[in-house]
Each structure stands twice: as C-alpha cells, then as structure tokens.
C-alpha cells in the first residue's frame, strides 16, 4: 500500500507568526487559518469532510467551533511531529476513501492563559504529580526543552567533533531566510554566526539564538485525493511518500541512543514509498526547535552522512539562495514557534515553494522536498 500518486495538498493559509495576538483565542486564530485555506483551495466550507488538529486541542471542539461536520476527525499526539503526522494521516485517510477533503489546522495563542482549550496545561499544572515531578524536577531542569537538547548537543559534539561555530551557522542561515519572510517573527532581522555565538547560554552548550521563541499564530492546509486536486485551481502538491510518527521515547533519558533520532526509522520508508533516493531531494523543510535537532535529523534522513552535518553546514549555503536550501521560511528558529503550529510551518513552506508562491524566497529547484516533523 502507498499514498504515492493518491493524495495531494490543494491549498494553504498561514497567519503571520507574532509573539502575541492580544485578545485572540487559539480557536479564533485556527478559524481564520481554516477559512483562508478553504478559499485558497477553491472550496466551500461544506466540502470539508475531514478535520485533523493537534495535541492538546480536541478536534471535536474545533469541528464544533467551525461548524464543520466531518466524517473523520482526530488530534495528533506526536508533539512537534504532529504537523507532519497530520499530513501523513490525511493522505492515508483520503487515499482510503474515508474523507475527500481533509482540513489540517494548527494554532497557538499565547500567553496560554488566554486559551480555554489547554488539555496539556491541565494535565501538567503545578500540583499534579508526574514522572517529571519525581525523577526530574528535584534536580533543577532548564526551562522548556532546552535541557534535553543541551544534553543531546553536548553528547553529539563529543561523539562527532562538531563545533559550536557549525551549529551557529545553521541558526544564521535560517535567520537569513526569515529576514525575507514577512510572516516571520524575525522578519528583516538577520543575525551573523558571531551574533549566535555571542548570545548567552540558557544552558551550555545551547545559545539563546539557536533556540526557538514561543509565539502565536495559526496555519491550515487542505489535503485531498490527487484526482480531486487536479480539478482545483492550485497546482497539486503531491504527497509521494510518508512514514511516521515513529517514537522511541518521551523524555531523552529514556532513549538508548540520544544522538540518533527516530528519523532513521521513517525516512527510508518515506523515500521507498516515494521511489526516490535521498540524493534526489532538492530542498528540505525540517523541524528545528533547536539547531541540534534539525542537524541530527538531516543526517538521519540520509541527506548528509552521519557525523558530517557540522562540516556540511560549514561548507554549504543552506539559505534559499544556496546550493541546498533548508528551512526556506526561516524555520522555527527564524520564523518563530507558534506552539505545535511551529512544526506545521515546515509543511506550509514546502507547499508554498512547490506551488511557486514563495516570492523572493523561491528556490531554484522546487519540485521535490523532504519535510520532517
């Protein structure tokens, strides 16, 4: 079984990523993105018969808010990979005939107290004992995911000899791309590699400027069958192969090999389904909450040999003007992380590029992209 040639993206819409949308709820932002994507695809709201949203937001609540009555709905639960997972699942759903037009919609509105739909914060609110409250909190964790990625980066540098400068180049390339993206939180604000290296450590070896900034925003994409997409106004963006979400752990200290990601499980399957080799890929949109993650996953996808990603960044222009463009909208490091819509932005930018709608950032070769959540 395969979704190759069976499913396509027919439209998209993205709200600018900002620190806050004062007075706006996450549902309100998602509704705006949904309407934009439906219109962009040349559809009417009543055409939507599938809806997929993200972790922490019950998809049934979203359906009710939008007054969409789908045959199929679910929420993804793969943390940052939820965006890509939504597209893979939507592709499978339309290929199987369980729905014809699936709206994938993601959003975040900060501060989180402004949202009444926070299953996650309910479960993790202070006072609720958890694995973390017994085995992590007494030792003074770092804010957000910085701690886990600091642990990974330190070990990776030890095992493979990558340098801090090489990690910083990844961040400055992404900020260059974001500077040309008016939807990015760091629009027109590029930084140099030196700026990244001179930014303070939140926790060694993680510099502030190689981390994402939590933001607000929303985006939506319509997935349909390839045949239906061909009858719609936009050039279809075909889903050629997909795999995942694959999982090995929740917290990093539960993983056997912290410098290899589950992308080693998913990328070969996705490439096999697509009937392409990693060397055929023209540009990449890869999840990048921290430089170390985008770098490790590029290796694990087979785009760069294991252990070589530091040298690759040092010697390769990965901007939208470069020989191998990566995260051409600035990724999350450059464009901001509107919650789990952050991981979804990689899908949106891949679609934008393949449809030829990236304007100044349009890459030269934009037919074949690998996206990772």
């Amino acid at each position: 079984m395969s979704i190759r040639g069976e499913a396509a993206i027919a439209g998209f819409f993205e709200l600018p990523t900002q620190k806050e949308y004062p007075g706006r709820s996450v549902l309100g932002l998602m509704a705006e993105a949904a309407r934009g994507a439906i219109l962009d695809a040349g559809l009417r709201k009543d055409d939507i018969d599938g809806l997929i949203t993200t972790e922490g937001i019950n998809s049934i609540t979203v359906c009710e808010y939008l007054q969409i009555k789908p045959n199929y709905t679910t929420s993804m639960t793969a943390h940052g990979a939820s965006g890509c997972s939504a597209i893979a699942t939507a592709g499978a759903v339309v290929s199987a005939g369980m729905a014809n037009y699936v709206l994938c919609v993601f959003g975040e509105s900060r501060p989180r107290g402004s949202s009444r739909l926070r299953g996650e914060s309910q479960a993790r609110r202070p006072g609720a004992p958890s694995r973390a409250s017994e085995w992590e909190s007494p030792f003074g964790p770092v804010i957000a995911a910085n701690g886990g990625y600091g642990l990974i980066k330190e070990r990776y540098m030890y095992e493979y000899g990558a340098t801090d400068e090489q990690f910083a180049k990844c961040a400055s390339d992404e900020r260059f791309n974001a500077a040309a993206n008016e939807n990015a939180v760091w629009f027109e604000k590029p930084v140099t590699t030196e700026d990244v290296l001179n930014s303070r450590y939140t926790n060694d070896p993680i510099h502030l400027l190689e981390s994402v900034m939590p933001c607000s925003g929303a985006a939506a994409v319509i997935v349909t069958t390839a045949e239906r997409a061909r009858a719609l106004p936009n050039p279809p963006v075909y889903l050629l192969g997909a795999s995942g979400p694959a999982v090995r752990h929740d917290v990093i200290w539960q993983d056997d090999d912290i410098t290899t990601t589950p992308v080693v499980m998913t990328a070969p399957k996705a490439l096999q389904m697509a009937q392409y080799n990693a060397s055929d890929i023209e540009f990449a949109e890869f999840y990048d909450c921290y430089t170390v993650l985008v770098m490790l996953t590029l290796e694990d996808a087979g785009l760069v040999p294991k252990g070589e990603i530091g040298n690759f960044y040092e010697s390769t222009d990965t901007t939208y003007k470069g020989e191998f463009p990566i995260n051409t909208d600035g990724g999350q490091i450059g464009a901001g992380q509107p919650g789990l819509a952050g991981g979804f932005r990689h899908v949106v930018e891949a679609t934008r590029q393949i449809m030829g709608r990236a304007g100044e950032r349009q890459v030269e070769k934009s037919d074949l992209c690998m996206v990772n959540g």
């Binding site: 004992p129 958890s130 694995r131 409250s133 017994e134 085995w135 992590e136 909190s137 007494p138 030792f139 003074g140 964790p141 770092v142 804010i143 957000a144 910085n146 701690g147 600091g150 642990l151 990974i152 330190e154 070990r155 030890y158 303070r200 450590y201 939140t202 926790n203 060694d204 070896p205 993680i206 990093i252 200290w253 539960q254 912290i258």
Partner: protein, 139 residues
Amino acid sequence: MADYDKPLPRPEQEELTRPFWEAAKRHELTIPRCKFCNQFFWYPREVCPVCLRPDWDWEQVTGRGRLHTFTVVRQPMNPAFNEDVPYAYAIVQLDEGIRMITNIVDCEIPDGLAIDMRVEAVFDDVADDWTLVKFRPAS
C-alpha cells in the same frame, strides 16, 4: 534543611516508589529489576517495561557509573535553583545499564565535567524525609 525551598520529589504512586526513597535515606541506591527477564529498568513502573510482567523487585547497586551527558544550567525553570547556577544537570548511566537524571556535584562546573568520566553516587539529605541521589567524580 528546614529552609530547603526547591521541589522535593512528588511521586505519582507513593506506594510504588516508597522503597526507593527509604533506601535513599539509608544512603543506598536501589533499582527495579525484573524477576523474570532479569533486566534492570528505570524509572519504576508497575510492570517491567521489557517483558511487561508485574514481578520485579528492588535491587541494591553500587551507585557507580559514567557520565553519559550533561548540560550546564544558567537559567533554571524553577527560580529556587537560581542560587546554584551554574550547575550540572546530567544523565548518568549506571554500570547496570540504566540511565537517570541527576546532578553532578563536588566538582568544578563546567571545567570538571567530561562525558564518559566515571562517577559515583552521593546522597544529599535535602529534607528530613527526602534524600536525593546525586553523583560526583569517582574517587
């Protein structure tokens, strides 16, 4: 000790992990080990995560291992730790194979830290009822 204002361990299942914390108070490190498949595992669960059988017991271990990786904290999530920065938040792998989150103490931060260096458990009696298992460079 009465002034300790950092988070104390808050178990989800107090009965399940009480033997670990009682051992820690005695300055002993005990780890779950499956009676059936013999595997050590961490963190404690109702069942062995390898074979999913419920029959396991606590086994005392030496507390010796190696520093798998670390990060030097400058901006703690909880402000109660601000007085300690910079400090090492680390993953230690015990010689029995399991990995745990801990702190590396009794050494220069960050210069005294080196990945894969040998470490040994130390017991930090942070409150009357709570002893945290931390690690230091092996003697």
